[in-house]
Point group: C2
Chain length 110, copies 2
């Protein structure tokens, strides 16, 4: 690969791709579900629910955090993760607008 080409695309395209990437693993989608279902900012409970080791879950949480989909604070032996609704909404609408833009043209051939 050598050279990264990603940065040669639109910022919006990159952002959208980064968001999609954060959701591109079933474990991370499952984590988001758990975070939403429990009306509390859990963390260790996620490990119990998922078929993954603690370190792996922690890694997925980190990625979700970096992507901005969740926010989290670690307070010693206790953590607090929750969904970052703001960013989530933003990306959701971005996705929808992409779909709308695509749909509006409605090209159809094959």
């Amino acid at each position: 690969m050598a050279i990264h080409k990603k940065e040669e695309f639109t910022q919006k395209e990159q952002d959208l791709a980064a968001f999609a990437k954060a959701l591109s693993h079933p474990a991370r989608i499952a984590i988001l579900k758990v975070l939403a279902q429990k009306n509390e900012c859990i963390c260790g409970e996620i490990v119990e629910v998922l078929p993954l080791a603690q370190s792996t879950v922690s890694q997925h949480l980190k990625e979700l955090k970096i992507a901005g989909l969740i926010s989290g604070e670690t307070d010693g032996p206790r953590s607090c993760y929750c969904i970052n609704w703001k960013a989530f909404e933003k990306f959701n609408s971005d996705f929808n607008s992409l779909f709308e833009k695509l749909k509006s043209v409605n090209a159809k051939c094959c």
Copy 2:
């Protein structure tokens, strides 16, 4: 890594993740845009627009095709790609339903 854990998640989670993965690279999002803008099933024009080699674009097209987001036929030295609206709509609504499910709980802590 050795062992794949992806298949231990819900089918729906896997499908959604696969869809997100298809969109997880700016080049593929750009390709979808081009396919929609041009009111014709192009292909070589994509190569001109993107900052990537022909073989790389072809590979991205293949991935989009495998993911079911586009359908395409190759007719000798000419190809015909276009967006698979059906699958696109399906995944879009799946995404929205995920967001809705998450939003409905509206947990908020940190």
